[in-house]
Symmetry: C2
Subunit: 259 residues, 2 copies
């Protein structure tokens, strides 16, 4: 099942996407819902990010090749994490599928994509085992963890490097029927394939992260966990189009614009 979130008549709705139609609902996938009876054409709705997360978690470093290639670029030793320590991103930066990633006017040319699997939490959860961890997952989406590399290196935190307005495209929807083992992540920049990797080839998997987080932290419905990216990225510039496909989940496409 594919859940979309969108604006209609100035209000925010969830809907179920079937083919090219969206069945509008009252309520949300996170509590109860009923179909309103209204049908929309998918092409005519104004998509929003599929959820506005109460807390926005991000694994950051979670693929070995990404760590090794980043270290090579910086001339440092690769530092493979030995624990599933979660990080954070900021909801202000979320945009929907199709909306432009706006490069701040004083950014350098090093504005890069990072293709990430997004785990959407469906149920309030504390102290869950790895083997039961997927029970609290509503579904999956696609995220682009856009990063300005010079700020990432120069600033004390990753506030503007990773969280400038529009730097967190997420969507187009939440797919509830998908298997982690089957997913392949592909990035295309202006239709040219630039990265391809097995999505689940993580240092610490979805189950491990959820189990570790919930030893200390309650996960709530609508929370998202972005799972990190593999490989090394290219720069994006105004006029480019960045497309991230995770097979079985969906394809997130955003144009790049200048401020």
């Amino acid at each position: 099942m594919k859940w979309v979130r969108y604006q209609s008549d100035g209000k925010t709705f969830y809907g179920i996407l079937e083919g090219d139609k969206v069945k509008e609902v009252y309520g949300s996938p996170f509590d109860s819902y009923t179909e309103s009876g209204t049908l929309h054409n998918y092409e005519s709705i104004q998509l929003l990010p599929p959820v506005n997360p109460p807390t926005f978690y991000a694994a950051g470093i979670n693929y070995e090749k990404h760590v090794r290639e980043a270290a090579k670029l910086l001339g440092t030793e690769p530092n493979i994490p030995d624990k599933a320590d979660i990080g954070y991103r900021a909801p202000n930066a979320l945009i929907a599928h199709g909306q432009p990633i706006v490069v701040p006017k004083d950014a350098t040319e090093k504005v890069q994509y990072e293709a990430e699997l997004v785990v959407v939490i469906g149920k309030e959860t504390k102290n869950i085992s790895e083997s039961n961890a997927l029970d609290c997952v509503l579904g999956y989406s696609v995220g682009n963890d856009v990063s300005e590399r010079t700020w990432q290196a120069s600033d004390r935190t990753m506030w503007r490097a990773k969280n400038s307005d529009t730097f967190k495209p997420m969507g187009p929807w939440i797919e509830t029927n998908a298997s982690l083992e089957d997913m392949i992540t592909t990035v295309r920049l202006n239709n040219r394939e630039v990265i391809k990797f097995a999505t689940n080839d993580m240092i610490f998997g979805v189950q491990k992260y959820i189990s570790e987080i919930t030893k200390y932290i309650t996960l709530y419905p609508g929370d998202v966990v972005w799972m990190g990216t593999d490989g090394s990225s290219e720069n994006m510039k105004a006029g480019d189009i960045c497309e991230i496909e995770i097979s079985g989940v969906g394809t997130l496409r955003n144009p790049i614009a200048s401020e």
Copy 2:
């Protein structure tokens, strides 16, 4: 004016505190509101954190003495920040005035308070100058940036060190009439004064942080910016009571409990 947020009959309300009475409103201080006509006794309402922030910003290091004393403890050189780089905390960890700070069962004895001024944003704001920055501030509250120091030193991020459930007491209310220059922050542990400092004696002030953030990031109504703490803290243990007063704003009091 003092804004409280509370639960009544299973619903969440904002109210205006006058003396020992709370005037219930429909709506919120962040948009429009009307008084409902219902009055509560302040002592009988179930307080919530005064806002559930869309994005939860935190300055982290923002007082020189705190940097110097932390460096002395670690045997390192003090590293005074030269830019107002904002950081983040997580909404899952917020609790209200009066609720217990629960020490996780595997935490060390180094669970410490940090007394912080909380700036509550009232208006959507981008690209604001320092001189106009306070125009977007609805008011102020008090925060306790509870920290487990061994995890803060050992983990790749501050996820459990600073964001374990219940580690972010905030309240008791939002005070809209307060002057930064007049505020004094006082911490009392079991009624013994342990820290006292001029709240506004920051490396980078409220206006500077807001102006810097909004060069890249839109602030939204309800966002909070925690401004950092001064001095060095003592450990807290189950049975203790930690009280943070910011004169002209309010007093946040929380008992410590074990898991």
